[in-house]
């Protein structure tokens, strides 16, 4: 289906940004600015709903909804369009990005009340929506990269939004630089993919078949699968493409080793943390990996690395989250940890589960962040949980709604996180892709389970420290009454206005029931009626199947991860891709019972975690935790000592003082002096006397005529011979 409505989704927020930037800055009327910002995103939301849910919409039809605006770059065989496409994957993304984005915009109209940069904030936020939706709806990698950079820019602007906050500017810079490292990988990945598809005879970086362009992903799918070896990374094949793209994803989605920017990014306003650094932008990496699943499934070693990095990040960030005292820092590490989950799912080939978790995470993490924003707002910009406690009775709505988010992230049944996290864990256990050597899936599952336990503990700690226990903010204030003598004491925490609580309530509802769109067969069959797993059925057709995954004990198990890679036979891939028929495959009874057991285990894990957290921190909320965790394993310090400082020293002492000043400047200056001296000499020829000029001309003429005559004599010799 071809429709220009699609471009309205991205251009409405752009228009909002322009209006706020150009008119809002002069009007300076908060109501006007807020209405423009929310309405523009509201338009996107409505259009996205209409285009996904109508009878031939993106979520129902097999063909994507396309909108070709113009051919952007056409150089030789390289072509990139400014074209949008909404298939099932980008449709789901567009839906929750616009919807959650809309709620956060509404929340922000209350949260940012009274800020001097009100118009600036909403202009940036709308611009972010434009960039994010461009990223999601782009029909080729280059346009996706435009959105990718756009969200990076907006993230930079919004982290550094508080111009008077000391840590904001360095945090913004850090986020930008860490993302640049990732972008380097992304761009190289795009180039290499173009090179590979050109070699296959169908040069393209497009995701879909269009007039004049074949889908790069389809081309990749027809290529033989890469081997499972270390050197595949550097061989310049699909594994290299996948690894480079994944480097891009680690930057944007805050994975090891580039995760360090996300905790610092909490210096931005809380709605920004909720929208950009939890719900949408940071999941762009997951989106990109799933979008390019055809590439990843043909690169088993890349899948292996994705799974390992994802699992390691999940565990690593969860342990750090345990020991943080800043409410937003806890949530930031929790986000990193949950993103790690998603990448682990991608790595084992459970792309649908990853996207399911992205969506559920968007609901409950946005809820938690907004809840924390509400707390911070009510506490007059206090973020340290050690100075909170007992807020339950002052902020009942915030407390109740945050409980929903808390239960969701812990994975208590029927709350959203339960279904998605459980699915990831189960898919990890039962994974059998060539990228996952036997035994590794069990280890990954174990890491995931431990992470789930830790998640339940630190989230319970957060809730307990904030909402239960003694009211530590009073004691704190009494102690520091001399220092804070500007009326803080008079304030008690208060509930937030309606504009903030309504989004909280909506998101809490979604965190509670949202997971029902993707109930797995193993659980739904318990009820007898067993409703379909809508989510999986919708998404299954658009992601690539991992070979051997559904077969369980198929060919995949014969691949040992240290054995030489299978050689292609007659140009066909050695490992045949088992194409599952579209639609839900009914698992065997044995699998179902196993899945049910694992579900039970993860519920037990969650309950255990909550009780540990409860009993540890209920009475001793200020309990000291290992210093190593509190200081985040000193990762920032290690990076500073091993990477940043050496670069600075080499740049200053070596490149600047020696190479630039000494070699380059020295060379240039001496060269310049030589040229000038030469010029001065030549200048003396121009003394102004005509006779001298005539002599010079004559001399030149004699030389030339002499040379010609010399050649003429040659001719004469040649002719007379």
């Amino acid at each position: 289906m071809q429709t220009n409505l699609l471009s309205l989704i991205i251009f409405a927020p752009l228009a909002g940004a322009l209006i706020n930037w150009l008119i809002g800055r002069r009007v300076r009327n908060e109501r006007f600015i807020g209405v423009v910002a929310c309405a523009s995103v509201g338009v996107s939301t409505i259009v996205a709903l209409y285009l996904t849910l109508r009878s031939d919409g993106a979520l129902r039809a097999t063909q994507p909804v396309m909108d070709h605006l113009w051919t952007w770059v056409q150089v030789g065989a390289f072509r990139a369009d400014f074209g949008l496409a909404m298939d099932r994957l980008s449709g789901i993304y567009a839906l929750f990005v616009t919807f959650v984005g809309f709620l956060i915009h509404v929340f922000a109209t209350g949260y940012m009340h009274g800020d001097r940069g009100y118009y600036r904030f909403f202009a940036y936020l709308n611009l972010f929506m434009f960039a994010m939706l461009t990223l999601v709806l782009a029909d080729n990698l280059l346009l996706m990269f435009v959105g990718w950079e756009g969200v990076g820019l907006c993230s930079y602007l919004l982290i550094g939004f508080y111009l008077d906050k000391e840590e904001a500017a360095p945090a913004a810079k850090k986020a930008f630089i860490a993302n640049r490292v990732g972008d380097w990988g992304f761009v190289l990945g795009i180039l290499l993919l173009f090179w590979l598809t050109s070699h296959a005879g169908k040069p393209s970086i497009s995701f879909f078949d269009k007039t004049g362009v074949t889908s790069a992903l389809a081309t990749v799918a027809s290529l033989p699968m890469d081997g499972f070896t270390w050197h595949a990374i550097f061989a310049g094949g699909l594994t290299s493409v996948a690894i480079l793209l994944f480097i891009g994803a680690t930057g944007k989605s805050a994975q090891i080793p580039l995760f360090v920017w996300l905790p610092d990014a909490m210096a931005g306003p809380t709605p920004v943390s909720a929208l950009i650094h939890a719900a949408t932008m940071v999941t762009a990496g997951v989106y990109m990996v799933v979008r390019c699943s055809a590439i990843f499934t043909h690169a088993p070693f890349a899948m292996f690395i994705v799974a390992i990095i994802g699992a390691a990040t999940a565990l690593f960030a969860a342990t750090i989250g345990l020991a943080q005292n800043d409410i937003k820092k806890v949530l930031a590490y929790s986000t990193i940890s949950q993103l790690g989950y998603m990448f682990m799912a991608c790595g084992v080939g459970a792309f649908v589960a990853a996207i399911f978790h992205v969506m559920m995470h968007a609901f409950f993490k946005a809820q938690l962040f907004l809840g924390s924003g509400s707390v911070i707002h009510g506490m007059h910009h206090e973020q340290d949980m050690r100075r909170m406690g007992g807020l339950r009775k002052y902020m009942p709505v915030t407390w109740l709604t945050m409980c929903a988010g808390w239960l969701a992230i812990c994975g208590i049944p029927i709350w959203a996180g339960f279904f998605s996290k459980d699915e990831i864990l189960w898919k990890t256990w039962s994974a059998g892709s060539p990228g996952i050597p036997p035994g590794l899936n069990k280890a990954l599952w174990f890491i995931g389970a431990v992470t789930a336990l830790l998640t339940a503990i630190y989230m319970t700690r957060l809730m307990v420290m904030t909402f239960w226990g003694g009211e530590r903010f009073r004691a704190e204030h009494v102690e520091h009454v001399d220092e804070h003598d500007h009326g803080h004491l008079a304030h008690t925490p208060h509930e937030s206005p309606l504009s903030m609580t309504i989004p909280l309530i909506v998101l809490a509802l979604l965190s509670t029931v949202g997971g029902l769109v993707g109930v797995p067969y193993a659980l739904s069959s318990l009820t007898g009626g067993h409703p379909e797993n809508y989510f999986e059925r919708t998404l299954q057709p658009v992601v690539s199947e991992v070979p051997g995954q559904s077969a369980g004990s198929g060919e995949a198990t014969t691949l040992h991860w240290l054995s030489p890679p299978p050689q292609p036979v007659d140009g066909k891939p050695a490992v045949t891709v088992v194409k599952a028929d579209h639609g839900e495959t009914i698992p065997s009874a044995e699998e179902i019972s196993q899945e049910r057991i694992f579900t039970l285990i993860s519920v037990l894990i969650a309950l255990t975690g909550i009780s540990i957290g409860w009993f540890m921190f209920k009475n001793q909320p200020l309990r000291r935790l290992p210093r190593l965790l509190e200081n985040r394993y000193y990762v920032d310090e290690i990076y500073d000592a091993t990477i940043i400082r050496p670069i600075l020293v080499i740049s200053r002492e070596g490149l600047w003082k020696v190479f630039d000043i000494g070699v380059i400047d020295g060379l240039l200056h001496s060269l310049g002096r030589t040229v000038v001296n030469f010029g001065q000499t030549l200048r003396y020829m121009q003394i102004g006397f005509v006779r001298v000029y005539a002599a010079i001309i004559l001399a030149g003429a004699i030389v030339i005529i002499g040379y010609f005559a010399y050649n003429g004599v040659h001719v004469l010799q040649f002719l007379t011979r």
Binding site: G672, V675, V676, F678, G679, Q680, L682, R683, M685, Q686, G688, V690, V692, Y693, A694, I696, I697, A699, G700, A701, I704, I705, Y707, F708, A709, N711, G712, V713, H714, V715, L716, F718, L719
Partner: protein, 517 residues
């Protein structure tokens, strides 16, 4: 035998083929008449008439190109019609129109007789057009002399100024010296192309056919060398450039602008016609034709390298803007010569045509940006060309932003910044040279471009970052000069961003492909 008989019986008159030259020539005479009889308000009358005539001539040449029926010649091969001629005719029209616009302000300030100037300019233009359309060495010489005599007078147009007189006289003496070379070269070639049965010839196409039948090849080669010297003087290639700085500095600024863009392009037109088509590349290297080709091509390549380097290096140490632009003009002739060399080395008609087109395009871009720069120099120089030192430009950047920013644009274009005409011109010329294997020449050209950055950017820095110590009274911007600036600025961007149309028009009609023996 048959050729002589044909010439005797059939004069081969075709007036439509010389329509542009006729229009300009008649307009020139008319302007002179008006100047003689109507002395009041003649400035607008003669200027307007001249511009109308130039536009008509441009239209006529476009019409000749539009009604194209293959490359043609008339007057027994004296006049030819091909894209080399058409594209250069258009360049001359543009240059002359811009000169009239720029000169209007100057004529006002200096209280000079406008009619005389316009008549001289039209005659010079007529001469340039003849040089481009000549198919015969005699016509080349005729056009050259029509052009030169008019230019000598124009250079000395400010009669009361010693510098102007000096410029004119130097130009005249050295120009005559060079013309003597040219004429002697023509005579030698006429003698050397005589065969046992036929008398000698000055027709360029016929010369090409007679090369290998020459009875005394050294004479032919010596003639070619003398032609090379004569043309080399006209387009100011090293070492025959020595007259340029003095003449350009002393001549009135609008005349300098004209000389740097127009006569130089005309020189290129006939230079290329005579050498690329008269002494074409030969299939057998060990023949008279082969040696002739080898001699001039090698010499020209070295001259190109020399010209670029001398022009740029000496421009660095100049403290007078006009003199600096004079050296810059020498350097640009060097860049254009690179394309000329490529045209000479091209083995097939298509590549040769592409190279010739690139040179024509280069000279057009140079004409546009150079005229623009000189327009501003004229304005800032004021009466009697008083302010032409670099110090006179100190800190005017934000005092006269229109002038300073336009001049910066032209300087950047002369430097060859991307998105400007100068960049596109260089790209075209260098590309054709690389295609013909003259990589070393292109490397020298690019290095020279880097050198030239110094003096172009220096003027921009002076304008924007130097403190001004002397008072600055901003010159008024007359309508005519403003119009010239609009045309040149638009031209700089148009040629820099969308060169396709002009290139296609210039290369639409490949020149008469000459048989190569």
């Amino acid at each position: 035998m048959s050729l002589i008989a044909l010439q005797a019986t059939n004069p081969d008159i075709n007036l439509t083929l010389i329509a542009p030259e006729l229009i300009i020539g008649i307009a020139g005479v008319l302007v002179m008449m008006i100047d003689a009889f109507a002395r009041r308000g003649q400035r607008w009358l003669t200027g307007g008439l001249s511009i109308v005539a130039l536009i008509a001539a441009g239209g006529a040449s476009i019409w000749l190109g539009a009604g194209w029926r293959g490359a043609r010649s008339a007057f027994n091969g004296m006049i030819v019609l091909d894209d080399l001629r058409l594209s250069f005719t258009l360049i001359f029209v543009v240059v002359s129109i811009l000169t009239i616009l720029i000169a209007a302000a100057w004529i006002d300030i200096e209280k000079l007789p406008a009619g005389e100037f316009h008549a001289l300019l039209l005659f010079a233009t007529c001469g340039m057009m003849l040089m481009a359309s000549a198919g015969d060495l005699v016509i080349v010489f005729l056009g050259l002399e029509i052009l030169s005599i008019a230019t000598y007078v124009m250079a000395g147009f400010r009669r009361t100024d010693v510098r102007s007189n000096e410029s004119s006289l130097k130009y005249f003496i050295l120009g005559s010296f060079a013309s003597a070379f040219l004429l002697y070269g023509i005579a030698l070639i006429y003698g050397a192309t005589a065969t046992a049965t036929l008398p000698g010839t000055t027709n360029i196409a016929t010369i090409a056919g007679r090369l290998n039948h020459s009875l005394y090849p050294p004479l032919l080669l010596a003639g070619a060398a003398m032609l090379l010297v004569g043309f080399g003087f006209k387009i100011a290639t090293a070492p025959f450039h020595v007259w340029t700085p003095d003449v350009y500095e002393g001549a009135p600024t609008p005349v300098t602008a004209f000389m740097a863009a127009g006569p130089k392009a005309a020189g290129f037109a006939s230079f290329m016609r005579v050498f690329v088509f008269g002494f074409p590349i030969a299939t057998a290297a060990a023949s008279t034709a082969g040696y002739t080709h080898k001699s001039w091509l090698g010499t020209l390549a070295i001259m190109a390298a020399l010209t670029m380097s001398v022009g740029n290096i000496v421009a660095i140490v100049q403290n007078n803007v006009k003199r600096m632009l004079a050296y810059s003009s020498i350097a640009h002739a060097g860049y254009a010569l690179v394309g000329f060399v490529a045209a000479g080395a091209a083995t097939d008609a298509e590549q040769r045509s592409a190279a010739l087109t690139s040179v024509a395009f280069y000279l057009l871009t140079y004409a546009v940006m150079n005229m623009g720069a000189f327009a501003i120099v004229t304005l800032i120089a004021r009466g009697n060309d008083r302010r032409t030192a670099v110090e006179d430009y100190n800190g005017i950047g934000f005092l006269s932003p229109v002038l300073a920013f336009s001049l910066s644009l032209f300087l950047l274009s002369l430097l060859g910044m991307p998105l400007t005409a100068g960049f596109m011109g260089k790209v075209m010329v260098f590309t054709t040279a690389v295609r013909q294997g003259y990589l070393w020449l292109v490397v020298i050209g690019v290095l020279n471009t880097a050198v030239s950055a110094y003096y172009y950017l220096r003027l921009i820095i002076v304008m924007f970052f130097r403190e001004r110590n002397t008072p600055w009274d901003a010159p008024r911007l007359p309508v005519s000069v403003a119009l010239a600036l609009v045309i040149t600025i638009a031209g700089v961007f148009y040629l820099g961003l969308f060169p396709g149309r002009v290139l296609n028009a210039f290369g639409a009609h490949p020149s008469i492909s000459l048989s190569i023996r």
